[in-house]
Symmetry: C2
Subunit: 162 residues, 2 copies
Amino acid sequence: MSLENLADAFYDELRDVLSAERQLTKALPKMAKKASSPQLREAFEKHLEETKHQIERVEQAFEDTGKAARSQKCEAMAGLVEETEEMIKEADASEVLDAVMIACAQKVEHYEIATYGTLCTWAKCLGYDKALELLKQNLSEEEATDKKLTKLSTKINQAALA
Amino acid sequence: MSLENLADAFYDELRDVLSAERQLTKALPKMAKKASSPQLREAFEKHLEETKHQIERVEQAFEDTGKAARSQKCEAMAGLVEETEEMIKEADASEVLDAVMIACAQKVEHYEIATYGTLCTWAKCLGYDKALELLKQNLSEEEATDKKLTKLSTKINQAALA
């Protein structure tokens, strides 16, 4: 689509993040299944539930644009998921796999933090108050997940040293 | 390659970021050329110079691993660059293009923040002191660039509203 103004760019970005979150709901169950640390498995499972709610919020955020809630394939998330799957295949020991999955998940979280950051800034400029409220919630959850993963990594990295 | 321990994972991740930074040195000149805001053009040009120094630091960081400084294609950065190129093609007005390029650049910065964050944590665990020093410098520069882009976006988004 052609982007003539900030409203078009916002709509385009919202379609991108809808695709990104949907891709993530397919990747997270696989990551949870592969996790050997119970805390890490639980973190992935919890974030899967959060992601499902985030998708609902993104769908609601489309209302301010007056356009249909349709996703548009997010190539960056496709690349991140591909990279994660490659790393999962390569990790031999379960502790290394956990450490590597945290690294991959944090890249995903940062991708989403950047995207929701932009969407919030643009929603504010455009006076999309409802969308802003919804997207701010998603941004906070992604930031909290990133911090939680950093905390979990301390213990898991030590185990992966051997 | 097969990842047997954290040292293997660190080496793999360092190869990934070397590829990511090299891809970025090809994308940034195109972005600078397309920027209509002189401040944004300057920011991209400055970050290109920084990126070249970051590549040198990454190459030096390999010394602690005792292995060759060889890149390994970073699929995530390839996806991010592809997405940026798509957005550049779609943006009609120059002000929208600037806003969109900032959004894309912040995704790139966040990808690198996550990667250098992981690399620093792992370098610390592994006792790779030299690598840790070098990678911490890169992390700081990426964080500063992200903040600078947020600041620049305030003025540019207003111009893109019309």
